[in-house]
C-alpha cells in the first residue's frame, strides 16, 4: 500500500561545543493519504526535529525520505514546498509584520492568483474576507493560525505539517483550530501531521499517534490502543501524568 | 557566603578608587622618572660639577633662574649633528669661533681673527679660551671639530674637501682650493660649535663645550635645565641657571607667560603680541626684522610675462603685514633693507596699471567679473603649506587678486618640498625659508636663482644673471659682493619671477628686568649668554 510520505531509519545529531545531542535515532514513519498522524513527546524528545527533517528544513545525517515513493532526502524547502506546507507555533510571527494578509497569502502560491479559490478557502476556515486587508498585528492568535491554514491550503499542498500550532493559543481558539482541521480531514481528505506535547489533544484530533522519547520512537498505534492499552512503560507514565492534568 | 559577596563588592569599589589615588601619587615619579632614568645625564662619568637642586619657586621669577619656553626640543645635544647645534647655542652651552651681531657681521668669539690670502684662510684663536672642564681649546682641537662636522652632517660635507692644518697652538689654516669668500660667516653657524672631543663620552646627553652654561637636567624632546659654568673662560656669568620648557604650540606659551611660569620667549605669535601690547607695563616686546623670508615663486612656464607683472602689481605686502599684526615686516627684496646687499627697488602696488597690462595682453572681464582670454578664464593655481602663516597669506592673496578680477584656486600640501616644489605643479607657490643664513647673500641666490637650483622651479633663467652669480662666487671684497647681489636680485624682480612678501619679525617678549635674551639679533640660533640678566 503506497504511503503518501515515508521515512526510513532517520538519524540526526546536533553538535554543540562540548557535547553532541542525538536528536533522532533510527526513526521510521509513514503517513497514508487522508490520515491525521499525531506525534507526542516531551521537550527534547525529537518530535520537532522529526517534523523539520520531514519538511526538508533540516537535512538528516542518514536515512531516506519518500513522497509517493519518490525519494526527496536532502531536498530543501523550495522543492518540498511543492507538496507540503508547514505551520509554526508562533502564529503572529508566521506573517511578515509589514505585509497585509492578502499579500502574504498570494506570496505562497506558485501559480497565478485565483481570487475565488482564495475566498472559498477563507470561508472554510471561518474567516471574513475583510481580514485580508489587515496586518498580522491587528489579528488575534487564533485568527492568525487559521489564516496560516488557509495559506497552506491556497498553496495547494498535499500534506500539512503542524508544529505545536495550538500550544500558544487559549483554550477556545485551540478548540476552533482543531475543529477546522478535523472538518478538513473528514470533508477534503486533508493529510496532516500534528506535533504536540498535549496527548489529550492528540487523542481527540488524530487517528494514529507516535510517541517519542530521547530521539527514539517508543510506541506507535491507533489512538484507541495508545490511550487505553499503552504497551511501553514510558507511554503508560505519559498517559497517567496527562490523565492527572485533564478532566 | 554572603560575607564573601559583600567583601567582593567593597574591594571592587575601593580598589578602583585606591588605584586612582596611589597612581596619581606615584605618578609624580613615573612621569619624570621614566624619562630621567633612561637618560644618562646624572650618571655620566667625569661631569665634575655636582647637580645644583633648583627650586622651581612658582611665585614670580626667582632672582637668578631664567625660565623660558622653546618651540623645538631635540632628542640629542650633539652640536655637530642635524640642527642640534642651534639649540645647544640657545641653551648657552656651545660657542662658535665667530658670532653674528645685530648688523649681520661675523664678529670674533672664540677666534681672534680670520684672514684670507687667495684660497688660504688663517684663523687665530683667542688666548685663555677653555672648555667647561678646564682643558684649553687648541687649534688642533678646532680643526678636529671641523672635520667631525664634515663627517656627521650632510649639509657641511663640503668641508672635507678643504685642507685644514694646525700651524701652532693658537692658529690653523684652511686651504679651500679656490677662492671661498664666505668662510668667516659660515664659521659663525651654530653647527660649528666647539666640543672637547677627547673628554666628551656621551655626545647625545652631555657634550663638554666652552659656553657660559652646562647641562644639568636633559629630557630628550622635553624640558632642559642648565646651570652656570663655574670656570667660564669669558669671565662672570650673571644667571645661576635657566629652564627651557618645550612648548610646540604658541598658545600655552602665552598662557604660561601670563600665569608667570616663564620669564621670556621668542617667536611670539600675532595673537600673543596683541595681548602683550595691551599691557605694556607687564611685558616689553622687542620686534626686529628677522632672516626668515616669506615669498612666492611665479611659474614662468604657465604664466606669461603680463600676468606675472599684473600679479606683482596687485599683491599688497603692507596690507598683508597689517593682517599679520606686527609679526611680519613687508619685504622689498629677500634681504634685510639695512644690510648692504639688501638695496633693491620694487614697483609700488598699482591695480589700475595691472588691469591695463592684462587688457593690453588680450584679457577681457567676463560676466562674473573675472578676466578671461579667448574663452578660457584666467585662474591662478596657488599652492602653499599650513605653516608660518602661509595659509593666511594664501587667503589674503586670493582675496586681493579677486578684487582685481583674477580668479584663483587654493591648494594646500602637507609637505611642499616633495610635491609642488619638486614637480613645479603650480602657478604661484608660497614658501618660507631662511634667506640670510649667515650674513651673506650667496646661499639664498644659489638656492633660488642659479640655474638648476632646488628652489628655481618657476623656470627663471637669465644668462646675464648666471654670469654675475659666477663672479659673486669668488669676489672677496664685501662692498663689491653687495653690489653684485643687488644687481642679481634686481634682475629677478624685473623679470617678475618671484614676489618677496615679508620678513618674519624676530619678536621676543620679556618680563620687566629681563634682558640679553638675544632679542636684538635677527638669527634664531641665539638665546642666553653670559650677559643675560634678570632683576
Amino acid at each position: 500500500m503506497e504511503h503518501i510520505l515515508k521515512g526510513i531509519n532517520l538519524n540526526k545529531t546536533f553538535g554543540t561545543k562540548d557535547r553532541n545531542i542525538q536528536a533522532l535515532k533510527d526513526v521510521d514513519f509513514y503517513i497514508d493519504e487522508g490520515e491525521l498522524l499525531g506525534i507526542a513527546g516531551e521537550s527534547g524528545s525529537g518530535k520537532s526535529t522529526l517534523l523539520n527533517v520531514m519538511s526538508g528544513l533540516i537535512r538528516p545525517d542518514s536515512g531516506e525520505l519518500f513522497y509517493r515513493e519518490q525519494e526527496y532526502t536532502g531536498k530543501g524547502p523550495s522543492q518540498t514546498g511543492k507538496f507540503l506546507q508547514m505551520i509554526f507555533q508562533d502564529a503572529k510571527n508566521s506573517f511578515d509584520p509589514r505585509f497585509t494578509m492578502e499579500r502574504s497569502l498570494l506570496e505562497s502560491r506558485r501559480k497565478k492568483t485565483d481570487r475565488d479559490a482564495l475566498c472559498g478557502i477563507l470561508k472554510e476556515v471561518g474567516l471574513d474576507e475583510k481580514l485580508l486587508k489587515r496586518k498580522a498585528s491587528e489579528l488575534s492568535g487564533g485568527q492568525c493560525q487559521r489564516m496560516s491554514i488557509a495559506r497552506a491550503l491556497y498553496s495547494e499542498a498535499d500534506i500539512l505539517l503542524c508544529d505545536e500550532i495550538t500550544s500558544a493559543l487559549d483554550v477556545s481558539s485551540q478548540a476552533q483550530v482543531v475543529g477546522i482541521l478535523k472538518r478538513l480531514n473528514t470533508e477534503r481528505k486533508l493529510t496532516a501531521v500534528f506535533v504536540s506535547h498535549d496527548i489529550a489533544l492528540l487523542s481527540m484530533l488524530c487517528s494514529r499517534i507516535m510517541v517519542m522519547k530521547d530521539g527514539i520512537e517508543v510506541e506507535q498505534g491507533v489512538v484507541e490502543d495508545i490511550v487505553r492499552r499503552p504497551k511501553h512503560e514510558y507511554t503508560k507514565l505519559l498517559i497517567e501524568s496527562a490523565r492527572k492534568q485533564s478532566l | 557566603m554572603k560575607k564573601r559577596l559583600l567583601t567582593l563588592m567593597m574591594t571592587a569599589v575601593l580598589a578602583l578608587s585606591a588605584v586612582a589615588c596611589t597612581s596619581a601619587g606615584t605618578g609624580n615619579e613615573t612621569v619624570t622618572d621614566g624619562t630621567e632614568t633612561t637618560e644618562a645625564a646624572e650618571t655620566s662619568g667625569d661631569a665634575t660639577q655636582e647637580t645644583v637642586e633648583i627650586d622651581e619657586g612658582n611665585s614670580g621669577s626667582s632672582d637668578k633662574i631664567l625660565r623660558t619656553a622653546a618651540s623645538f626640543a631635540y632628542a640629542s645635544l650633539d652640536v655637530h649633528k642635524e640642527y642640534y647645534g642651534w639649540y645647544t647655542s640657545i641653551y648657552g652651552v656651545s660657542e662658535t669661533l665667530f658670532k653674528m651681531d645685530e648688523n649681520m657681521n661675523a664678529v670674533p668669539l672664540l677666534a681672534e681673527d680670520a684672514v684670507a690670502d687667495g684660497s688660504v684662510w688663517t684663523i687665530t684663536l683667542k688666548d685663555g679660551v677653555a672648555f667647561s672642564n678646564g682643558n684649553p681649546l687648541t687649534a688642533d682641537m678646532a680643526v678636529r671639530n671641523l672635520q667631525r662636522l664634515a663627517e656627521v652632517n650632510e649639509r657641511f660635507a663640503y668641508l672635507a674637501d678643504f685642507e685644514m692644518t694646525a700651524v701652532d697652538d693658537k692658529t690653523f689654516t684652511v686651504d679651500t682650493g679656490d677662492v671661498y669668500p664666505t668662510l668667516r660667516n659660515e664659521l659663525a653657524s651654530p653647527e660649528f660649535g666647539m666640543m672637547d672631543l677627547d673628554a666628551t663620552t656621551d655626545f647625545d646627553n652631555d657634550p663638554i663645550c666652552t659656553g657660559p652654561f652646562v647641562i644639568s637636567k636633559f629630557q630628550p624632546e622635553g624640558d632642559v635645565e642648565v646651570v652656570r659654568n663655574e670656570n667660564y673662560w669669558g669671565g662672570d656669568v650673571n644667571l645661576a641657571g635657566a629652564v627651557f620648557y618645550y612648548m610646540q604650540e604658541d598658545d600655552p606659551k602665552l598662557l604660561a607667560m601670563q600665569s608667570g611660569e616663564i620669564d621670556c620667549y621668542n617667536s611670539v605669535s600675532s595673537a600673543a603680541l596683541a595681548v602683550y601690547e595691551q599691557e605694556p607695563d607687564k611685558y616689553n616686546v622687542v620686534s626686529i626684522p628677522g632672516a626668515r623670508l616669506q615669498f612666492y615663486i611665479l611659474n614662468e612656464n604657465t604664466l606669461d610675462d603680463a600676468v606675472r607683472e599684473a600679479i606683482n602689481l596687485t599683491v599688497d605686502k603692507d596690507k598683508i603685514a597689517e593682517y599679520l599684526s606686527g609679526t611680519v615686516s613687508p619685504a622689498v627684496g629677500p634681504f634685510n633693507t639695512n644690510a648692504a646687499y639688501g638695496k633693491v627697488t620694487v614697483p609700488a602696488v598699482d591695480t589700475a596699471k595691472a588691469k591695463e597690462i592684462l587688457e593690453a595682453d588680450g584679457y577681457m572681464l567676463n560676466a562674473d567679473g573675472f578676466y578671461e582670454k579667448d574663452g578660457e578664464k584666467l585662474t591662478i593655481n596657488i599652492k602653499y603649506y599650513a605653516a608660518r602663516s602661509l595659509d593666511t597669506i594664501a587667503i589674503l592673496i586670493q582675496e586681493q587678486l579677486k578684487e582685481v578680477g583674477i580668479d584663483s584656486v587654493l591648494g594646500v600640501e602637507e609637505d611642499p618640498d616633495a610635491t609642488y616644489i619638486a614637480t613645479g605643479d603650480f602657478d604661484l607657490a608660497l614658501y618660507c625659508m631662511i634667506a640670510d643664513k649667515a650674513g651673506d647673500p650667496l646661499y639664498f641666490i644659489e638656492s633660488t636663482l642659479m640655474d638648476g637650483a632646488y628652489y628655481d622651479c618657476g623656470g627663471f633663467d637669465d644668462a646675464h644673471c648666471e654670469e654675475l652669480i659666477g663672479e659673486l662666487k669668488y669676489e672677496t671684497d664685501t662692498v663689491k659682493r653687495a653690489e653684485l647681489a643687488n644687481e642679481i636680485i634686481q634682475i629677478a624682480i624685473d623679470d617678475n619671477a618671484f614676489g618677496y612678501v615679508g620678513l618674519f619679525n624676530s619678536t621676543t617678549v620679556l618680563r620687566p628686568g629681563v634682558s640679553g635674551f638675544a632679542e636684538t639679533i635677527p638669527f634664531d640660533f641665539y638665546g642666553i649668554d653670559a650677559d643675560t640678566t634678570i632683576e
Binding site: 518540498t80 514546498g81 507540503l84 509554526f88 510571527n93 511578515d96 | 595681548v275 599650513a386 595659509d391 594646500v412
Partner: protein, 274 residues
Amino acid sequence: MKKRISRKKAVKIKLVIMAALALSVVFLTLFAGVIAKNDPYQTCATSIRTAPCVDYPFGTDNLGRCIFARVLYGGRTTIAATFALVFISFAIGTVIGMVCGYYGGLIDRLLMRLADITLGFPQMVVAIAVAGILGGGIKSAMIALGITMWVSFARLARSHTFSIRSAAFVQTARFAGKNDAYIIMVHVFPNLLAPVLTNALTQIGTTMIGLSGLSFLGLGVIPPAAEWGAMISEARAYIQIAPWAVIYPSVATIITIIIFNYLGDVIMDYREVR
C-alpha cells in the same frame, strides 16, 4: 490604559519638537546665503577681531571675516559632511551586516573579525593617520572616520538579520520557493531598516564630534573653508582678546550635537512605545 496613552502622547510631542529643532538647524545652515548678509570668506583689514555689533552679529575673527556668516556656512559643511558620512557608513555597514547575518560561516567570521579590529583601534588615531597621510580636506577626514564607523551598523544589521532569518514567515517564504535574494530584499531588509536607521540618528552626534575634532587638529577642512572645529581651533589662540570667536562656534557645535543626540533618544523611546 489612560496613563499609558499619555506617556505615548508625551513621547510624540517630544518627537515633534526635536524634529522641528533639528530641521530648523538644517534649514538655518542650508539658507545661510540668505540669512547671513556678509560673505563668509570676505576678509577686511579694518575690522580685525571686532566685538559683536550691528553689522557683525557674532563679531569678526582675526582676518576680519564675519563669524555669524561663517558659523552658518560652517554648519552647512559640518552637517552635510556628517549626514553624508553617516549615510555611507549606514549603507556599507547594513549590506555587510545582512550578508554576514544571512549566510554566516567563513565570511561572517572573517568580516566580524575585521570589524573587531577596526572597532578596537582608537578611532581618532586611525583618523589622524589617514587624514595626515592623504593630506587635509573634508573628504579624507570623512574616509578616516568612515573606516571605523560602518562597524556599528554592520553589527546591528547582523544581529537583526539573525533574528529575522529564523522567523516563521521567512521559513514559509522558503517553502513558497523564494530564493535568498528575494528573501533578503523583501523580508530581511525592510524589517531591519527601522532599527538601523534609529541607530544612524544616534551616530550623528558622535560623528560631528569626530569631524570637528579632526578639523581642530588641522586635519579636517582646508582653510579658508568654514567649519566649526577649524574655526574653534583658529580662534583658540585669540581666546583672550576675541573670546566671541571661540564661543559662538562652540555654542553652535554643542547645541547641534545635543539636538541630534536627544532626537535619537526620543525616536528610540517612540519606537519602544509604539
